[in-house]
Structure formats: structure tokens, C-alpha cells
Symmetry: C2
Subunit: 232 residues, 2 copies
Amino acid sequence: MSTRSSWTSIRDEIKRRVQAREVLPGDKLPNDQELAQEFGCARTTVQRAMQELAATGTVVRRRKGGTTVAAHPVTRTTFDIPITRLEVEALGQDYGYFLVSQGIEQISRSAAASFGLQDQPEMLHVRALHLAGNRPYIYEDRWISQETVPEILDVDLTRESANEWLILNRPYSDCEVRFLAKKATPQEAELLETEAGEALFVMERTTWSDSAPITRVRAIAAPGYQLTARAK
Amino acid sequence: MSTRSSWTSIRDEIKRRVQAREVLPGDKLPNDQELAQEFGCARTTVQRAMQELAATGTVVRRRKGGTTVAAHPVTRTTFDIPITRLEVEALGQDYGYFLVSQGIEQISRSAAASFGLQDQPEMLHVRALHLAGNRPYIYEDRWISQETVPEILDVDLTRESANEWLILNRPYSDCEVRFLAKKATPQEAELLETEAGEALFVMERTTWSDSAPITRVRAIAAPGYQLTARAK
DNA sequence: TAGTGGTCTAGACCACTCA
DNA sequence: GAGTGGTCTAGACCACTAG
């Protein structure tokens, strides 16, 4: 019934049936064995196609329950947040970096909450500005665990951004990302060359190495910043 | 050299080596054949493990070039944006919906830009408010192509949200998502029960069915809204 | 407990792409 | 041209779970 098989063509055909509403949300699809016969291929090949459809949320697969079209479709979106320097360079602009302040302090309540800590230990507090073509791009307010990452104290953060050093030298095992909007404080406004009260886009990231806190950063973007992704 | 193999344990072991910096960003890993010998399994099993590591951005695989540890690690995050009603109900709150306005109008420049259109055709313009426990939750400002989705004109949007109807009845093939922050206009502030100038989190989504525009929605969240995801 | 998807194998051929 | 990953097969057994 089909021409040539490959897992991508099977995937596309199933996706087409869903989009054309030949099968409706909640409907059960034939099992892998039957689909393999229909497409004239091995069951493994069907499995590969369904694996992807399940990963993108198009179908739901359950042993014994079979494969069903997702009852409540979601928009599944994937963002890659790169090292800020590379993000700027990818825009074709000159990258600049400027350390605003650093020091050992007791962490804020909100940072402790991000880490899931009850107490508020001392950590390295770093504030820095990333520039794109001499214009402020992202202001980051970061806490780094001196206990988990003692080496950070030897890094010259006036020259190298903690953002880049950590990602290249301290891979994380877990990461929590949060997006939100906030009004610019007077200090943030000055650094980002805008006005207090301006609406700013914020990306908060907290990372751990096997449940040991590494860092928590609030990356506050200059006005106009947008995060874009295409989903299929 | 290993105990029992399964693709997940191979994946975890490679991930461990990366996190423990036994292999550094840019380093080349042994080829699949060699890894299969090391782990005492079939090459297919190694392939399955590497497939996932490549999908999450941990390694980069190239034919002939081999498998290398990602030189520039990124934070890859996946968000599921569900139907708003389900999102509210998942919070354990009562969902409410309220149509603010609807009408056929020439689309705005920004909407035309989202669709990638040169001209500004007439589309159905719908404004609606989603409530969570009687409090404003998300205000959506939406354009729907009456050409691609003529059936929408027969839907009673005072009872059923366009958000839900479209997702269940008009699956898209392509979707572009954009996140940003903006100041509340007086009208938005009134609907969201906040003050003009407040910083609001905005999710813009544009969808197509095979390059034919379906809808473009600006979902403006009430103050305090956050989007959260865990990446591994 | 039986049906269904998930994993694994051993081997083959194909499709890139680096040198 | 040769090395490497990508796909496919035919068959087997396992693991989960709906009825």
C-alpha cells in the first residue's frame, strides 16, 4: 500500500492522518505489527517512527493500551540557550563583557528558594553585563556555590564571564529554567540603558551537579529581547 | 568491562564521563563499534544511546567525523504549552472564559509580519480572557484566517474558546513561538486587573497548515505568571 | 494473564563527509 | 576512497498494564 518505507515516511504519513483528521484525538491507532504489514516493513522501523511521534507529543504509547492520538495536543517547544557570547556573535555583532561587582555574601531568599535550600549559606555573588555591539544586551545577577565550585574563586571574572567558565568547566546534571517578566529597577535600568519601570524579559536558571547546587542566574535582557523557536 | 548493558545505562555512562570531565568539550569519543565492544552489546544498542545524547545536545555525531562531545554546550529546554483551560485545571483552579470582542478586520502589520505576509488581508479578530478561580489569568488577542479556517465563523466563541477549538479541530503543521515582555496598555491592565505599565509576560504563537496561515495569538499573562521547565 | 510496546541481536547495506 | 554513523531486517525475549 506504500511505495518505499523508511521511518521518516511512516512518521510523516501518521502525522498527515492526524492533521487531516482521518484519526481524531483519543483514537487508537493499529498496533505496530499491523502498521508494519501496512507499510511493508519490519516492526522495528514502525517503532522508530512512533518513538519520534511520541517524543513530539503527537501520539501516546502505552504497553497493552496501544498507541492513541494525543487527546489534548500541546505545543511542545524546544529552546537552546547558548553561552551569551556565542548568541551575540551569532547575531553578527561584537561581543563585550563587563564585570559589575563580585563578593561573598549570604544568598537571597529567592536564590535559596531556587536551590530548594532552607538556610541561606554564603555564596559568590557576581553581577555582570554582556554587550552586543557596545549596547547592553543581558545583565546577569548570579550566585555561585563556593562549596560545590571552589575553583571559581581563582577565576578572574573581570576577564572571563562566569557564564562561559561554568558551562565549559562545570557541566550540570540538572537544570531548572524559568521565564518571566519584571519591571526594571533603577539600577537595572541604568545598566541596560533604559528607564526604570520598563518591562524586561528575565530568564532564571538554576543548576545542580547531582543535587549539589552549582549556580543560579537571573539573566535580565535589554528591552526588545525575544526568545523564538519553531515547533513542528 | 561493564555489568549489564541497556541503552539507558550506556547513555548514563557517557553522560557521566562528560560531566566528570573525563572527556572534554570537543573531544572525540570512540566509534560505535568500539563502544559496543566495550559495553559488550550490539552496535544498535550503542546507536540508541547516542541518538538520545545527540538529541539532548550532549554530543554531536557526524558520519565519518565520528562522535564528539559538544564543543559549546547549550541549555536545551522543552516547554509544553497546553490548552489554557487544562493548564488552569492542572493548577486545581476553576476555569473561566470570557469573550471580549470579535469581528472581521484587516490584520495588523505585526500580525502580517508574523505570518510572513506582504499584504494585510481581513481575518477574524478575537479578544478573550481566560480566568483561573475568578481571577484574570491570560488575555489573548488573536487573528484567525477565515480563508484557511472558514468553519471558525460558525463557532460560537462566546461559549467556546478559539484556543481550544482550533487545537482540537485545526491541527497545525508548523508553529512559531515567541516569548517576550511588554508593558500593560490601559486596556490590558483593566482586563487583567492590574495597572497600566505593569510588566507582563507574553507568549506569541503563529501556526500554519502547510504554509497556509491558521492563527496568530498573543497570549498576555497576568502579573506573576512564570513558565518553568526542567532540563536534564 | 494476555496483548502491546520496549529492547536487544547479528548482520547487512546505505549515505554522508573527511582526508 | 574509506571510515563512520544511519537505517533496516527478522526474530526473540522482556516489561508493563488494561481488562
